[in-house]
Symmetry: C2
Subunit: 215 residues, 2 copies
DNA sequence: GTCTATATTGCGATAGAC
DNA sequence: GTCTATCGCAATATAGAC
């Protein structure tokens, strides 16, 4: 009697989560009906209520899964080796790639931040980005203590600048594409390479840098 | 017969728009009821339908007004004088201040971009940010042709980096506040000053810059 | 122009058969 | 576990008095 496959553990639950993730990443909470989720998952609406007590619980489950998946994806960008400049290049590239690889997750998380504002901010700060942000700060601090980077800048500020550049690129691609000046909208790798290069060397020609002001 | 004041041109319409703007910036489209808008505006629900044919038309009117207001607000950041580095500092500061001064407008426009994706992207690209973006690119190009900035970087890329840093700061303030490393979450002016400083001078110490690779 | 009252639709959630 | 059928309710939108 035991040979029956028992199929996949929680197969129905997974189908529902996948369908809900897709729909919630496209539309806002209220714009996604339980009916639409059931349709997308290929099951009946009432069946969803067998697995989840209500719509809110389903949404939270989707959000939790997305947030966790994003984190594991980004963790690959953390452990890199070599000199600081190479680590930064690698980090930026992996981070942007992670965002572009799973746009649904990013949009889902970002929508939640926009919607709920400060109320859920702490939760996301701990769950979602904490380790990525801290890892980047650590990389920068290491570069400073090794003398590979200047010591008169705030590592957290540079980390924000770099992560923000990637997130903004992800968010604004469709808009940037319409500007004639922009040539990098479809070249994320080139974008990141350019960003890191500018961060490292600055915009001012070396010859005209006032070295006395750095003391 | 003409002395009657005619009161304010479209006063009722303005009240409705203001109320709708406030509510739509806090919640998503479906989460805002016409009843709530009427309550906020201090009029009856049916009266809204006297000025606007349906909920969708009202939302579009709000969006159009917000987008236009944002543009005029940001235009103040464009006209600055002096050497390029000072213009950049001024520009960054004004831009971020404009975002922080009218968070409802920014959130409204950004929510629309998130929701509709590429479909409305072109419209916003032209209406909302085109002139600000172009102005910043022009400033950078001027700096390059005057020899005040390096010539081996893409002005559009730097413009994206700078605008993105400000937008990301605006969007993520509540999250950044929870990180122990971050000291600038409540100091936008200091944030921008630091950003521009890094952009101009780079992260690498001047002494260790390989001047041969710049040719 | 502004209101009250109402028509109508679509939602989340439940009941109960299989 | 999965389904069909339905309840209760809140929402958009309309009708018509004043």
């Amino acid at each position: 009697m035991g040979d029956l496959p028992l199929v996949i553990e929680g197969e129905g639950r997974q189908r529902i989560l996948a369908a809900a993730e897709k729909l919630f990443s496209d539309k806002a909470f209220d714009a996604v009906s339980m009916n639409a989720i059931a349709l997308q998952a290929g099951i009946s609406k009432a069946n969803i209520y067998h697995y989840f007590p209500n719509k809110d619980a389903l949404y939270l489950a989707v959000l939790r899964a997305a947030s966790q998946s994003l984190r594991t994806l980004l963790n690959d960008a953390v452990d890199a080796h070599g000199v600081v400049v190479d680590v930064l290049r690698h980090f930026a590239r992996c981070h942007l790639q992670a965002l572009l690889d799973r746009p649904e997750w990013v949009r889902l998380v970002w929508r939640e931040i926009l919607e709920k504002g400060a109320s859920r901010a702490q939760e996301f700060a701990e769950q979602g980005f904490a380790d990525v942000f801290s890892a980047l700060v650590a990389v920068l601090e290491a570069g400073q203590s090794r003398g590979e980077l200047r010591v008169d800048f705030d590592p957290a500020l540079v980390a924000t600048l770099l992560l923000g550049a990637n997130v903004f690129f992800f968010q604004s691609r469709d808009i940037l594409r319409h500007y004639p000046h922009v040539t990098f909208a479809d070249d994320p790798a080139g974008y990141d390479a350019g960003i890191v290069e500018i961060l490292l060397r600055g915009l001012i020609p070396v010859s005209s840098v006032d070295t006395t002001s750095t003391r």
